[in-house]
Symmetry: C2
Subunit: 299 residues, 2 copies
């Protein structure tokens, strides 16, 4: 499908893409850049790529698909390092969780003769690092592509095919809409999960162990999300701050509604609130986005 694919940054996502490329034979050769010696050693040991290097210019050379899979805050520096070493006509994509700001970064760097199409695979686990990656991570998950109007349609189609081969369902969305939808489905849940876990553990020592022991009553579901990579999430909250603040305000209003109903012991209102959310889960399961097994099938 490609002569040479280059992956910049090889953590959970980058290494999962690499494994999927190898498994599905999507390129004749590939290269991986990472600045961490530990990551490079792991990739060499596992023989995941023939070209494993901390020389970013070398890595991107002759690549016809480059996938940036580093934290959002690193894009500006990274682009400045590779801008003079890109093959003419290369497709440049990424895997970042926020799009509007990084699109500005790429636009401002005035790259010539390249096709910039952003990707966001909605996939991941609470684990980090290349050891945690696996080829099937993208299977049956969505991948959202965003591109400016002037980008050639056939290049977008090539990238769509690439993600399809990794098992993903692909959808096109504007940079703006992407950031808003994800602020609701992903960034808000993370803000909330971090807050709730902090509330539960910032506690008198007397109850610390009890909170851990009895977490099966609900808390444990949130600790999964709150165990995600801190550096990645710091960048997301900075890059998508406008939408995140907006949805946090809406969220606070919904929480106040519950608070007031509890204060007033308003059974009718509480029942109304608690009944309103039941059918969303059914819709998510019908959309194939979660398992219908009770308790996520946990034993």
């Amino acid at each position: 499908m490609f002569k040479k694919i280059c992956i910049l940054g090889c953590g959970l996502i980058g290494s999962s893409i690499l494994r999927a490329i190898n498994k599905n034979k999507l390129s004749k050769e590939n290269s991986v850049f990472d600045k961490s010696k530990k990551v490079l050693d792991f990739l060499k040991k596992e023989k995941l790529s023939s070209e494993v290097t901390d020389d970013i210019q070398l890595a991107v050379k002759n690549a016809d698909l480059i996938i940036i899979s580093t934290p959002l805050s690193s894009y500006a520096e990274l682009i400045s390092l590779i801008k003079n070493d890109l093959k003419a006509g290369v497709i440049l994509t990424d895997t970042g969780s926020v799009k509007k700001e990084i699109n500005k970064v790429i636009e401002n760097s005035k790259l010539k003769n390249i096709h910039w199409i952003a990707s966001h695979p909605i996939a991941g686990t609470e684990e980090s690092g290349p050891e945690a990656g696996f080829a099937d991570l993208f299977k049956n998950r969505w991948c959202i592509l965003s591109a400016n109007n002037q980008v050639a349609k056939d290049k977008i189609e090539i990238l769509e095919r690439f993600w399809s081969k990794l098992g993903s369902k692909v959808k096109l969305m504007s940079f703006e809409d992407h950031d808003y939808v994800l602020s609701l489905t992903s960034h808000l849940p993370h803000a909330v999960a971090y807050s709730i876990v902090r509330t539960a553990i910032n506690n008198e020592d007397k109850f610390k162990n009890d909170v851990i022991q009895y977490s099966a009553g609900g808390l444990r579901d949130f600790t999964r999300i709150a165990a995600s990579d801190p550096l990645m999430w710091k960048d997301i909250f900075i890059d998508n701050s406008d939408y995140i603040l907006k949805v946090l305000d809406n969220y606070s209003k919904n929480l106040d509604e519950i608070k007031n109903a509890v204060k007033n012991k308003d059974s009718k209102k509480l029942l109304e609130i608690f009944s309103s959310t039941k059918k969303v889960r059914k819709e998510i399961i019908e959309a194939g986005q979660d398992t219908k097994k009770p308790d996520f099938g946990r034993k």
Copy 2:
């Protein structure tokens, strides 16, 4: 272990206890009361008990263990109906999620010659009704017992043994401590889950489908909890209102901390917040309260 066990209310929890009693042969006979014809028909069809009735006085007659497994708001009426039909020396317990208020209800009803020991099995799924029950629901889960000082130790030990036979680990806790710990580990997570799902779906129609489609980025974890039984949760929020309001205030402070860090684009603070919660998950897994598989082992 008992001559006759009586279960009052046979939903997810009651029917799971019934199945576990049958499986482990913990009584010579048992009886089940439920006011729903549909539930009674199901129990008869599945032959889960030889005595299935909507006559509560008949159900409790001669029982030496009675387990109340109905919504918290029904206890007062239920106790008034059975108070003259209890066998002398019966152990009376329940499975409710809040303890202080229902303890008052039982104390005020001045039952004579009975042993009141509250139980709270920390187990359940997002499903409701007797069809959803299963005998292993309590396996490796905690069950918290609470009793006043004057309750005979040997009776508490009998109830401890009963829950152990169902596979649970048992802990004694005061009514007060129970309600505080559970407000953190269970009631706060539920308040938050309902709010977040309402925020995400109370949306312009334009994005409604997108929110469902891309829920794998975090939202879907919350929809499980927000699909729990509304009637049960309404009662919990009424009965434990003091602690719930207290922990919601602490939670709002933690959320404001994130909000302010986002507003000020304070990377250092965000990184500190997001790093602080990572080890809680590890502790929960080490305590055997969750699976260590990424994504809860979901496919």
